[in-house]
Subunit: 211 residues, 2 copies
């Protein structure tokens, strides 16, 4: 495999997901940091790669790929034997639904550009923090209900899947914003189990942060 | 195939997507309307099926399935020869990225429960409408840039895919909220081409609206 390049930001959940997937599959890569706080994502050069101005972007197999979950689906299809998605199509449906409960129903609403717009609507100094806490707590509560329908050590079954790859960065964010996780027993348990795996450990924002 | 049941709301974009996919694949189904304005999505009975309290839910092959894109992936895998997703894995990656640019980066931010929360943050009567217009316009402008990298009659290639299934309901919504589509030539062109296809026509909200 040629040079694999991940344009990422250490604290971005979407970047964190792709780092986990690459690590789990044993695909080596180098990173190019795109500092969102400095607005690097809107440089003409970066927009050429990623017209949405989001992180991450992955360059692999001569292709420029955007959208973290679409990248993970690609990686999963490159290495189907690693089962980031299960083999059965109904099982895959459930894993994707759990992944999307985070990636569609929590993460975009709490994206930086959305939270920044919220702050313009109100004089309230803590509006951004309240927004984050409200939507992360609400979304994780719903996810906890979904997860209660399945057993196993991870979100779906006894091995980590794309659902866990989405869950862990969201729990990291929940802690960052001070969301109360007391009633989210299954989520906290799964997160703890993932935290013991080297692929998840090596992808953690604290380790991805540039010096 | 056994009885296929779609719990839907005529005006929901996510429901509209699944109706298009079922129609395109020629899978017969009956609908159970869940009136979101009457709060039917939060009844105990419905939450048992869909713990997130969202539409749609599809019951098919003895399984209860939630999350529209995950349902569409399942349907695409049931009928791979119909190419809702292309055969090549890099092609699939691009189609998913285009689909997610709508389904992750526009739709959830404009979801009813999010817009309702926005309205509580400000005294401004038109805050909800402005929110919708801002995020739909911004997201479609970015999608137009993404689409400019590909040619073909539809979003990706010369046959409709999951990307178009996401695009059309979002354009319907954009028109509903009065978003200016003047500079979105490729999006308008693709939407117009889809509008000529029977599967898209039969899924339109005006036809899905209960009497």
């Amino acid at each position: 495999m040629n040079d694999v390049v991940l344009y990422d930001y250490w604290r971005s959940s979407a970047s964190y997901r792709v780092r986990i997937a690459l690590n789990m599959l044993g695909i080596g890569y180098r990173t190019v940091p795109i500092n969102l706080l400095e607005g690097k994502q809107t440089s003409a050069e970066y927009l050429e790669l990623n017209p949405q101005g989001f992180v991450p972007t992955l360059v692999i197999d001569g292709q420029v790929m955007t959208q973290s979950l679409s990248i993970i689906e690609y990686l999963a299809e490159l290495r189907p034997e690693r089962r980031l998605l299960p083999a059965g199509i109904a099982d895959r449906q459930h894993v994707r639904a759990l992944a999307y409960a985070v990636a569609m129903d929590i993460h975009p609403i709490c994206n930086m550009h959305v939270a920044a717009y919220v702050a313009t609507l109100t004089e309230k100094a803590e509006a951004r923090e309240e927004w984050m806490r409200h939507f992360i707590a609400d979304g994780l509560r719903k996810l906890e209900h979904m997860l209660s329908k399945f057993d196993g050590a991870f979100s779906y079954g006894d091995t980590p899947t794309m659902a866990d790859i989405c869950l862990v960065p969201q729990v990291y964010n929940a802690r960052r914003w001070g969301v109360d996780l007391t009633d989210l027993g299954r989520i906290v348990e799964i997160d703890g189990r993932c935290a013991k795996l080297s692929g998840f450990q090596a992808a953690h924002p604290d380790r991805a942060k540039p010096e």
